[in-house]
């Protein structure tokens, strides 16, 4: 007779608790509503593109250019470098502020994120080419997140 495996046993434990102490019926809907309301306070504010420069093509067909966005007192400088079918973004937030920067390429959500350093620098590497926008999420929870308009790499 084979022994019940660890996974079998934990599966039984799950089944038993799901049956004996089920999630209250209303709970999921209530939590979805609560989370949605809280999230709606996080409406994004859009940064404004104020400068864009193209640099000469570099070695091996790589190119780079810079972008500058402004939102309130925050300046965001980006240097976007393309190498083959990937790109990297070196960013500089002025004045420096603790925040998380996320890259949102195209329609497909992807896990590109970085934290701004004490000097305001961050980098995102291995990004796919195409449409991209960056969202900046201040760690100071009282500050709303803001995002760049979509730009093309």
């Amino acid at each position: 007779m084979s022994e019940l495996s660890r996974e079998d046993l934990l599966g039984i434990v799950r089944d038993v608790w799901e049956e004996r102490d089920p999630v209250p019926e209303h709970l999921v809907a209530a939590m979805q509503a609560a989370a949605a309301v809280a999230a709606s306070d996080l409406d994004l504010e859009l940064m404004e593109l104020v400068e864009r420069s193209t640099e000469l093509a570099g070695a091996r067909g790589s190119t780079a250019y810079t972008l500058r966005f402004v939102h309130g007192d925050t300046d965001l400088l980006l240097r976007v470098a393309v190498d083959g079918d990937r790109s990297r973004v070196d960013g500089w937030v002025v004045p420096p502020e603790p925040m998380t920067v996320r890259a949102l390429p195209g329609e497909v959500p992807a896990p590109y994120a970085a934290v701004v350093s004490d000097s305001g620098r961050f980098e995102l590497t291995g990004l796919p080419l195409g449409l991209l926008r960056l969202r900046l999420e201040p760690h100071d929870a009282s500050r709303p997140a803001f995002a760049t308009p979509t730009f093309e790499i």
Binding site: S5, E7, L9, P24, L27, V28, A38, A39
Partner: protein, 218 residues
């Protein structure tokens, strides 16, 4: 319950007759992947991503939080606090794969805090009374299901309390942080692994004695 168990048995048997080292992907793996997908979509601006994340993780949070012996309403509050914390502190989650773990950890901390503050020491709450309530099933099913279900429940419920709590957390979480678990259960860190093993062994024996799963075909 019976059907689900039979299904697992069949699945498990198949695996066992194959390569011994390969374990079937538990439902937990799928839950965690769906949570990550939902989070990614939400971060990308789709509000339905947040809905999906909440739908897939709320049941997990419920079971984790309830293992702290909180009442139903206190447990609901803890789950809600956890979701609000996620929305406010989304920037703290850099690795989308970690969102499930972040949620369960946050929920456990909050549950522990609330349990401590309210000094919960009331074992006879609704979860202990639930088995005594009549359940509505078709008459035919009822005989078999209650039989099987009750035996499984008796085996789990008959475990020492520490085992019951530890196994419930481990069953619903994905690789919980042993350091925090140890503090919550007032056990040394190094003993969590061995204790889990002993608890599983106790459950295995209890199930065999109850006859719930120890039949010849297994």
């Amino acid at each position: 319950m019976t059907e689900r168990l039979m299904e697992r048995r069949r699945g498990a048997t198949r695996i066992m007759t194959g390569i011994g080292a390969v374990r079937p992907a538990g439902p937990a793996d799928e839950v965690w992947q769906r949570a990550t997908d939902g989070f990614n979509r939400w971060v990308a601006g789709e509000s339905s991503g947040l809905d999906d994340l909440v739908a897939v993780m709320t049941p997990v949070l419920w079971h984790v939080v309830r293992s702290y012996r909180l009442s139903e309403s206190a447990a609901e509050d803890v789950v809600q606090t956890t979701w609000l914390a996620l929305v406010r502190r989304r920037a703290a989650i850099l690795d989308a794969q970690a969102v499930g773990g972040w949620l369960t950890t946050t929920a456990r901390r909050e549950a522990w805090r609330v349990a401590k503050a309210t000094n919960v020491a009331v074992p006879a709450d609704d979860q202990d009374l639930a088995p005594m309530l009549p359940r509505q099933r078709s008459a035919e099913d009822a005989v078999v299901q209650r039989d099987e279900g009750d035996r499984l429940w008796a085996a789990v419920d008959g475990l020492p309390e520490r085992c019951r709590r530890l196994l419930r957390i481990v069953a619903f979480e994905n690789r919980p942080d042993y350091r925090e678990l140890a503090a919550d259960l007032e056990m040394p860190v190094g003993s969590i692994g061995p204790t889990r093993g002993r608890c599983l062994a106790k459950l295995r024996v209890a199930l065999m004695h109850s006859g719930a799963t120890g039949t010849g075909e297994y």
